[in-house]
């Protein structure tokens, strides 16, 4: 029996602690500093210091706090994704919050707290730790979604997100309690062992699996648990939508990987068929619904639903390629999607809401660079080479073919082909329509920085993906 607390355990959570400390200092500095943008820089410094420490402990394999928190390549890989997503989200928020007249210090602190929750989720190998991480992330995000106090849509989105989020957490918790009941332990490995000793058709195991899955599907916005997504994504401040669509989603998938590939692995034959159905529905519904949207935020919300459907293929394949594909796809999706959202954030100006597809009309004539960047991000989302999105999709489809899920692969690729239709609608608007007086962009150093980083990685991963594939593969081999 490992000792419950050792002094080294603190080292394992130092990156998280740094975020927490910076977050709390931000709340204090908020009272002292009038220039709220400076708080954003402090938050970025916090993320940088956390990332730096993460880099220094990158090779350490360590099971902390009596084995409830695992420090391994898997958790470090995902923590890296969260930190990148948080940093880019803050970068695109700086000017945006000024325009919305809601630049407050709490915003940056909440992003840090939320990221900290995610980092615990990625490291957790124990139900309670996992759940606390999840709620830390979720509660901070609920507040962020409703951050535009005077905006009705933001409030509505926050309320909806909170209610459904709480509901799904309760379902998840119910499943977790069943798992605890079955195994008498909250640790994933013990749960897996207990489940494997029970008969395959054991109703309680199945019940636990189904409720846990339902809760998870809520979190990743899989069909039929996706209804909250378009509303929440549309109402939330655009920078937070970007944050949710990459960081929160990546955290949910990290948690799903640990639960399904470790704790629930003995029930794999049962959950694979459920997940295959959910995956097919998710990508199809997401893509078809996106076709008819003319609000950019809703369009990208449905697009992100369909991407969750693709990622589920990695779970269904379930082999090394499949899980590598999940990690790789999330890494790529982080850069590409933040890039696309950054352009939409830039559409918001003092007097223009800038969410309608027509607000992009003729963007190429006024801001050619931004339009070309958006084109590249959209092609990457659609999976056209030589962008990173192609590598991600390639890996997922490869996993499906490798494990013999041919029908699923066919459905997935046809979906990928359909998706080009609505991505090209944005392209048509940007390149083939005349500019109107509403066409225009905010420019800010933070936005340019985020766009530049997103562009570099979208292209580099697309043309020379080798180191990134190796990184994702290494993470997977460590985790499972």
């Amino acid at each position: 029996m490992p000792q419950f607390f050792q002094i080294q355990d603190l080292g394992a959570i130092t990156p998280e602690l740094e975020l927490a400390v910076f977050g709390m200092f931000l709340l204090i500095f908020d009272l002292l500093i009038q220039q709220k943008r400076r708080l954003g820089y402090i938050a970025l410094a916090g993320i940088a210091s956390s990332a730096l420490f993460l880099y220094r402990i990158r090779d350490i394999e360590f099971s902390a706090y009596g084995g409830v928190l695992s420090l391994d390549a898997f958790s470090i890989f995902f923590k890296l994704i969260f930190l990148i997503a948080a940093a880019l989200s803050i970068a695109i928020s700086l000017r945006y919050l000024d325009i919305e007249r809601e630049n407050h210090g709490e915003y940056y602190a909440l992003i840090l707290f939320s990221t900290m929750g995610m980092m615990f989720m990625a490291g957790a190998v124990d139900l309670v730790t996992l759940y606390i991480g999840l709620e830390t992330m979720a509660i901070a995000t609920y507040v962020l979604v409703g951050f535009l106090r005077s905006n009705q849509r933001s409030n509505e989105a926050s309320m909806k997100y909170f209610l459904l989020g709480a509901f799904s957490s309760a379902i998840l918790l119910y499943g977790m309690s069943l798992l605890y009941g079955i195994s008498g332990s909250t640790r994933f490995v013990d749960i897996a062992e207990a489940l494997s000793r029970r008969p395959v058709t054991d109703p309680i195991s199945l019940m636990a699996m189904i409720t846990v899955s339902a809760g998870m599907f809520f979190k990743i916005a899989a069909v039929p648990f996706h209804q909250w997504t378009p509303d929440a994504y549309e109402g939330a401040p655009t920078s937070i939508t970007a944050f949710m669509s990459v960081a929160v989603k990546a955290a949910s998938f990290a948690m799903m990987l640990r639960i399904f590939m470790v704790a629930l692995y003995p029930l794999r034959p049962q959950w694979v068929s459920i997940m295959a159905a959910v995956s097919v529905m998710t990508m199809t519904v997401g893509n078809i619904a996106a076709i008819t949207q003319s609000n950019l935020k809703r369009l990208l919300a449905y697009s992100s639903i369909s991407h969750a459907g693709y990622i589920l293929i990695g779970f269904i394949a379930g082999n090394a390629t499949g899980i590598t594909a999940v990690g790789l796809y999330l890494l790529i999706y982080t850069f590409t999607n933040i890039g696309a959202w950054a352009v939409i954030v830039a559409l918001r100006r003092r007097d223009v809401i800038g969410e309608h597809i027509d607000d992009m009309a003729g963007l190429f004539f006024k801001h050619p660079a931004a339009a070309v960047l958006m084109l590249i991000f959209l092609l990457s989302l659609a999976g056209i080479p030589p962008t990173a999105g192609f590598i991600g999709k390639y890996y997922l489809f490869a996993a499906a073919i490798e494990t013999g899920h041919n029908v699923l692969a066919v459905i997935a690729v046809l979906n990928a082909a359909i998706s080009i239709y609505f991505y090209l609608r944005i392209v048509v608007s940007m390149f083939m329509r005349d500019a109107t007086e509403r066409t225009g962009l905010t420019s800010a150093p933070g936005l340019s920085f985020a766009l530049g980083i997103a562009l570099i990685f979208t292209m580099v991963i697309g043309i020379y993906p080798d180191p990134f594939i190796a990184l994702a593969r290494q993470a997977v081999v460590a985790g499972f």
């Binding site: 092609l379 056209i384 080479p385 030589p386 192609f390 690729v413 082909a417 993906p465 594939i469």
Partner: protein
């Protein structure tokens, strides 16, 4: 020089891309400079590709030439692996020839957004060349998809009234085909190590691990199971048949052609369609020999339907460009018929006919474009008696009409003759249907010529039309020279094709050279 010789394919393919990157830094207002630069890049691109023709060793039978092979993504087993044989040599040269002509033909036609136009033209050129030189399936797929984007923009920005519809239709159709193709590629990729493990000679040559090497896939072809070949052939079929296009996947083609700007149509008909037939030749046939033979009845039927249906629909078209577009469907039917006759005559004819189609249909689209620039209509009923005011144009149009029909002494005849011989060798009725296609082809082309060029000028708008200017003559003359060259002395072309075609036949029909010169029903569907 040695460096140039070793990397000639890379230089040929990436030269337009380099030119494009330089072009990005031009001021978009200096249109003259942009045009000169784009034309210069294309012409130099052609000149750079010419040594391929002279350095190509025609006596080497089973090796790719000018090969370059570098590791690209070791974790996936994807390499930067390029090389050509006689088949790709001709297609590469066709591309580098048509590229400058298409760009030159746009000189006056494209007035808006000039810089972007030439950027996309150069990007497209690089993508197409990449497709023809790739020997790595991953690399091939990247090029294959990359060139969709510039073509989409060319149709969508500089196209006709229904350009958006045509552009998205083109993109969606091709993409659906491509993604299924990707699944086929993946299936091969994961099957290779298993088969290589059973056949040490393959593992010794291409390595035991996963690879995208097309030559390795060709080596395992005979050992792939029938079910596997069946499904992968279908996946490849959808991918390539949409591009060709074969009936019933052809519906994107008339829309894309009619809406595309002239240069877009020239490239589309001249080169892009060949990517589909090239796909069949390079991948489907040698990698999936059983699947190829199994699907002969289907392929021949679709090819023949394409020939007859394309010709009949072409005859009824009131719009010149649409007529030429449907004639493409018919001509590509010939190409497919010759290919799936699976004998040297048929395959030789099929490949020569691809080149011919690029030359004559490319030229016909240029011709339609020239008359459109003068009259801003393509309605056949708007014209008549044009030969009175545009004599040079009339001669050019006549030569290309004859070339398209397949008149002896011109290129079309050579290809069609070889295809007919190939078809006759296998089945009499294949040749009968193909022959009816030739008759119909003569009918619609001659009728088109008669209605537009002959007789008296009835429409007053046609009375003052200017004849071709120097630039237009320069655009079309190379194609006329090529048409006569292939028509009068095709031997150099057949010489280039000789070895690779025999090798291909040997791969698909190992018994062909051992005294079984005809496919029979049993052979077509017989289990191994």
């Amino acid at each position: 020089m040695e460096f140039f010789r070793q990397h000639i394919l890379t230089i040929v393919a990436f030269w337009p891309l380099a030119g494009m990157i330089v072009l990005l830094f031009f001021n978009k207002e200096s249109k003259g400079l942009i045009k000169v630069w784009a034309n210069a890049v294309m012409v130099v691109g052609f000149l750079v590709s010419l040594p391929l023709w002279f350095w190509f060793d025609r006596n080497v039978s089973d090796q790719m030439q000018f090969v370059e092979n570098f590791t690209w993504i070791p974790t996936l087993g994807a390499n930067y692996h390029v090389g050509i044989d006689g088949i790709s040599l001709l297609l590469v040269l066709l591309t580098t020839l048509l590229g400058p002509l298409a760009v030159l033909s746009s000189w006056d036609a494209i007035e808006s957004r000039v810089k972007e136009y030439y950027v996309f033209m150069l990007m497209l050129q690089a993508g197409m060349l990449g497709v023809f030189i790739s020997l790595d399936f991953f690399l091939f797929y990247v090029f294959w998809e990359v060139m969709l984007v510039p073509m989409y923009f060319l149709i969508g920005v500089w196209g006709g009234p229904r350009k958006l519809y045509a552009a998205i239709k083109f993109f969606l159709y091709t993409l659906i085909g491509s993604v299924l193709l990707l699944l086929g590629i993946l299936a091969l990729y994961f099957n290779y190590p298993t088969i290589a493990a059973q056949h040490p000679e393959i593992a010794a040559q291409f390595g035991p691990g996963s690879t995208f090497n097309v030559l390795a896939f060709q080596a395992i072809g005979p050992f792939l199971s029938q079910t596997f070949q069946y499904w992968v052939f279908l996946a490849f079929f959808v991918g390539f048949a949409i591009k060709v296009p074969m009936f019933p996947f052809h519906t994107w083609l008339p829309d894309a052609h009619v809406e595309a700007p002239t240069a877009g149509s020239v490239i589309l008909a001249g080169v892009l369609l060949k990517m589909g037939t090239y796909g069949f030749l390079r991948f489907s046939l040698p990698i999936l020999p059983w699947g190829t033979k199994h699907f002969i009845p289907l392929m021949i039927t679709l090819a023949i339907i394409g020939i007859v249906y394309g010709a009949l629909v072409a005859m009824m078209q009131p719009d010149m460009k649409k007529l030429v577009a449907y004639s493409s469907v018919s001509h590509m039917g010939f190409v497919m018929l010759g290919m799936f006759a699976l004998n040297p005559n048929g395959l030789n004819g099929s490949i020569i006919q691809q080149i011919n189609h690029g030359i004559s249909t490319g030229a016909l689209f240029l011709i339609v474009g020239m008359i459109y620039e003068r009259r801003h209509t393509r309605e056949i009923s708007q014209f008549g008696g044009i030969s009175n005011v545009m004599p040079v144009f009339a001669i050019v149009f006549l030569i290309m009409t004859m070339s398209s029909i397949g008149l002896p002494l011109l290129n079309g005849f050579i290809g069609e003759f070889a295809i007919m011989m190939g078809a006759l060798q296998e089945q009499l009725w294949w040749a009968v249907f193909a022959g009816s296609g030739i008759v119909l082809g003569a009918a619609y082309m001659l009728w088109l010529y008669q209605r537009t060029m002959l007789g008296k000028i009835e429409n007053p708008a046609n009375e003052k039309l200017a004849d071709l200017n120097m630039r237009e003559i320069v655009t079309i003359v190379p194609l006329i020279i090529m048409a006569f060259w292939i028509g009068l002395y095709p031997a150099p072309f057949f010489h280039v094709l000789d070895k690779p075609v025999n090798k291909l036949v040997e791969k698909v029909r190992p018994d062909f050279f051992q005294g079984a010169p005809r496919l029979n029903a049993e052979q077509i569907g017989a289990p191994r």
